[in-house]
Each structure stands twice: as structure tokens, then as C-alpha cells.
């Protein structure tokens, strides 16, 4: 069988691109090898660990079980697209730093992409909903508490609830003082 190639047109991190891909490539292969976006990690490669998560048309997907040719016409975001022009961290990235939500860092780009989808949804997730929304990622270092806290605090700040974000304790639970001064 002759090798099969195809030209894929899509938008990656706000930039229109045209890329020749081997039809056997996964989207992870295309983003890492062809476009050098190495924040997209190769973890399990079977859609279990979430390290390769990217946002496609507003929704998080495991790019390892997504064919590169399916990217045709799609709008894709990776971690590289979140930083400012001078490499400044976005608020969700900074929150991961501030909360110590990173140890080895391998799961971090994927976690941040899902978190970015959550904090930009304009929705206030309950603690249970947040845990469910983050459940497609495996982290073997942090025990998840710090990650959960980083996402919850950033979500609250995006909703303008700055005081409530400060009331999130180390276990990720919002501790309202008594009597409750606001809400």
C-alpha cells in the first residue's frame, strides 16, 4: 500500500494553518511533530490519562485518539495559545503555580486545557461537578487537592467572586465565616 498523505486546514491557537499529514497520524503526532507544540504530552495514548488534552471547537478532547485528518476545519487550542505575547502566564496557569498544583508537570498542560474550558464557560460548578469535569485526567504526584483548588479559585474569580475565592481552604472547601457577610 502506497503511503497516504493529506493536506489539513485548521486554526491552531488562533492561527490558520495548512499542514501535510500522514493519514495514520494522531492529532497528538501532528501537534507535536509537525507544529512543535510539545505541551501536548504523549502519555497513555489510549485516551485514559488526559495528558494530551486539547480544546477542539470549544470542547476538550484526547488528541491521542483523534486522527489528524479529522482536524480539517476545526479550531484547536493548546497550552501554548494561553500565554500572552511576551510569554506571560494566563490566570489559570498562574493559579496552578500559586497553589502548588504541579510536581513533575506531565499532566499539567492537559489539566490546564480542561480547566481553561471550565473557567471560561461562565458557569459556576459545584464541587462535585468540578471533580467530575476534571475526572478525565490522571495525576500521580499531587493527589489532586491542589489542582482542584487552583481550578475552583480561578473559576470563582472569573465569575467576579474574588472574596469567595479567598475563602477556599486547603481541602478546596469554601469556608464561609459566620455570619455570612455576602452571597
Amino acid at each position: 500500500m502506497a503511503k497516504q498523505y493529506k493536506v489539513v486546514h485548521c486554526t491552531v491557537n488562533g492561527k490558520e494553518i495548512e499542514q501535510v499529514v500522514d493519514v495514520r497520524e494522531s492529532l497528538t503526532d501532528m501537534l507535536r511533530n509537525d507544529l512543535h507544540l510539545t505541551s501536548v504530552k504523549k502519555g497513555c495514548e489510549v485516551g485514559e490519562c488526559g495528558a494530551c488534552t486539547v480544546i477542539i471547537n470549544g470542547e476538550g478532547f484526547n488528541s491521542c485518539i483523534y486522527l489528524a485528518v479529522w482536524a480539517e476545519g476545526k479550531e484547536i487550542w493548546t497550552l501554548e495559545g494561553l500565554t500572552g505575547p511576551g510569554g506571560e502566564l494566563s490566570d489559570i496557569q498562574q493559579a496552578f503555580v500559586d497553589e502548588g498544583a504541579i510536581q513533575c508537570g506531565f499532566c499539567t498542560p492537559g489539566f490546564i486545557m480542561t480547566s481553561w474550558e471550565i473557567v471560561n464557560s461562565g458557569k459556576e460548578y459545584t464541587d462535585d461537578e468540578l471533580r467530575k469535569a476534571l475526572s478525565g485526567h490522571l495525576c500521580r504526584c499531587t493527589g489532586y487537592e491542589n489542582i482542584f483548588r487552583a481550578v475552583k479559585k480561578t473559576m470563582l474569580r472569573h465569575l467576579g467572586k474574588f472574596e469567595e475565592a479567598e475563602l477556599v481552604n486547603s481541602q478546596g472547601i469554601t469556608e464561609y465565616p459566620d455570619p455570612m457577610p455576602f452571597k
Binding site: E48, G60, W70, H137
Partner: protein, 293 residues
């Protein structure tokens, strides 16, 4: 890189049928959350594939001219859960598919793939059984519709002819009208796990909400294919809503189901939880329908 011999990309349903006729060895690739993983495992390595993933005409939920709910076979789990028609008429299906895998799997996984791979543990299958879904296939001889009970033949084998693809799943009005359903998935983890056993119940109560007009119950992983519990349904239909009747209904399911021992769970555990799930799900449905026990 996947070990794929050749990839044929369909541009329309007709094109997919033509490609499958031209390449009889080729397998259908929809969302790929099973198929691509099986290529990595080696089980499907080196094969030819017809990709239908880009066929947007097979996405979305609508009400057709016969008032059936029509779910395009490539509609992803996440889109089914968010869909207003599903939420209004058959919310239990949205809840059931919201228990598949994790969020990223629900973004890529399709309801067509979930049913066509013919596994009994599919979270959508017990609910579709319990709501008498109709599967629509399109092939060289046109479109044909098959009731879901005739769609599942045996484990991993479904009623799809060569060069056919499943194009939609329909829920007839008679099936969803005034019905309330509840799905329970029993599994070891809260996410990224396959059901040990799943149970989907729905009810339509009498006008005065004192008795059961129709109860339907479907199971996943209680047999090699998704099944209903006809004896239990026959017992409860027309009966008064009482604690005793609900308990008797739940016990009767054991006459209908045939779970097996597997590395996930033993037969005795599956029988036990099947009874408990039937009772809990039915109670929940009665409450949703506005009845009192």
C-alpha cells in the same frame, strides 16, 4: 502513528456505503474511542478503515415528521446530554451517557459506536432497550429500520449487513410520551470505569397516579447482550403503586436475567445488585412521575 493499512474518508452516507462495497475488508471508524484503542492494542492493527467521523449530517437530535425523537448516530455523548430535546423527553438517556468514561471520552464517543460495537456494558444500551429504540441502517439497498431487540444478536454481533452503516436511533412518540426514566450504573470507580451492571427503568403512571400503566426495565451486563426483564414487567403492569409490588417486581427480574461470573464481578453480586437497582430505579421513577408510594 497508527498501524493502519489504508484510510478511506467518506464524504457522505452514500459515499460511505460505496467505500464499504469497494473495500469489503474495511472496518467502520466513527469516533474511534474503541477502534483506535484496539488498533494500538494490536487487535485491529494493519487493517483498512472507512472513516465516517466527518459526516456532520449524522449529528444532532431532532423530532421528525412522525414525532419520533431522531438521534443522529454520530451525535457525541456530551452533545446528547446537553441537548434540549433529550432533556425534555428522555433525560435519562442524557444522564446515562454522561456516565461513560470521562469528559474527553464523552466528547468523542458516539451513540452509534456505543451500540454498533455490540457490548452489553454500553451505558446507552440499557436505556435504549428500555425505551424500545429503533435502529436505522443505510446500505446498498436503501434505508431499513430494526427494533433494538432484533438489533443485538449476540455478544459483539449486531444486525448490520455488509456495507451498511447505522445512521440514526429513533425513539417513537408512543415510547417517550408521559414517561419518566432513571438509570443506575454500578461500577467500582466514579469515572473512567465500565459498568459492573447497569439498570434503566421508566414508567408511565395511570391518570390518577395510583397505579402503573406501563413499566419497562433494561439491563446492561445482566446477559451477553442488553436485555429487558419481561416477567417483571408483566407482573407490575396495571398494578397499584405499593411498596410490596415494587419489591416483588424487583425480585422477579431474576427470572429474566442471566449475569455471568467475570473478573469484574461474580454472578451472585450481579444478581444481588440487579434486584436492588430495579427497586431503587423504580422508586425514583415513581417520584419523578408524581406518584406516591
Amino acid at each position: 502513528m497508527y498501524d493502519i493499512k489504508a484510510l478511506y474518508e467518506a464524504e457522505s452516507v452514500q459515499d460511505a456505503v460505496r467505500l464499504l462495497q469497494e473495500h469489503p475488508e474495511a472496518q467502520i471508524l466513527a469516533g474511534g474511542s474503541d477502534v483506535l484503542v484496539q488498533i494500538r492494542e494490536g487487535r485491529r492493527a494493519g487493517k483498512e478503515f472507512v472513516s465516517i467521523y466527518m459526516l456532520d449530517e449524522l449529528r444532532g437530535v431532532t423530532i421528525d415528521e412522525e414525532e419520533n425523537i431522531r438521534i443522529g448516530s454520530l451525535t457525541s455523548f456530551s452533545h446528547i446530554t446537553k441537548d434540549p430535546i433529550i432533556q425534555k423527553y428522555i433525560n435519562v438517556l442524557g444522564e446515562a451517557v454522561d456516565m461513560v468514561g470521562g469528559p474527553q471520552i464523552r466528547a468523542i464517543g458516539t451513540i452509534g459506536g456505543n451500540t454498533c460495537n455490540g457490548v452489553t456494558s454500553a451505558d446507552s444500551a440499557s436505556t435504549l432497550m428500555a425505551w424500545d429504540a429503533i435502529m436505522e441502517m443505510t446500505g446498498p439497498n436503501g434505508v431499513r429500520r430494526v427494533p433494538i431487540k432484533d438489533f443485538y444478536i449476540k455478544a459483539k454481533v449486531v444486525n448490520i449487513e455488509p456495507a451498511e452503516i447505522q445512521t440514526a436511533i429513533l425513539i417513537p412518540k408512543e415510547s417517550y410520551d408521559k414517561c419518566f426514566g432513571h438509570y443506575i450504573k454500578y461500577s467500582m470507580r466514579n469515572a473512567l470505569d465500565i459498568a459492573t451492571t447497569g439498570c434503566s427503568v421508566n414508567v408511565r403512571l395511570s391518570e390518577d397516579k395510583k397505579s402503573f400503566e406501563r413499566v419497562r426495565i433494561g439491563y446492561g451486563v445482566a446477559s451477553p447482550i442488553p436485555v429487558r426483564a419481561p416477567s417483571a414487567e408483566a407482573f407490575i403492569n396495571g398494578k397499584k403503586i405499593t411498596d410490596k409490588n415494587i419489591k416483588k417486581f424487583a425480585e422477579t427480574v431474576l427470572e429474566d436475567i442471566n449475569p455471568r461470573d467475570s473478573w469484574r464481578a461474580g454472578k451472585a453480586l450481579r444478581q444481588h445488585i440487579s434486584v436492588v437497582m430495579a427497586e431503587r430505579a423504580l422508586r425514583e421513577c415513581v417520584e419523578m412521575a408524581g406518584g406516591e408510594i
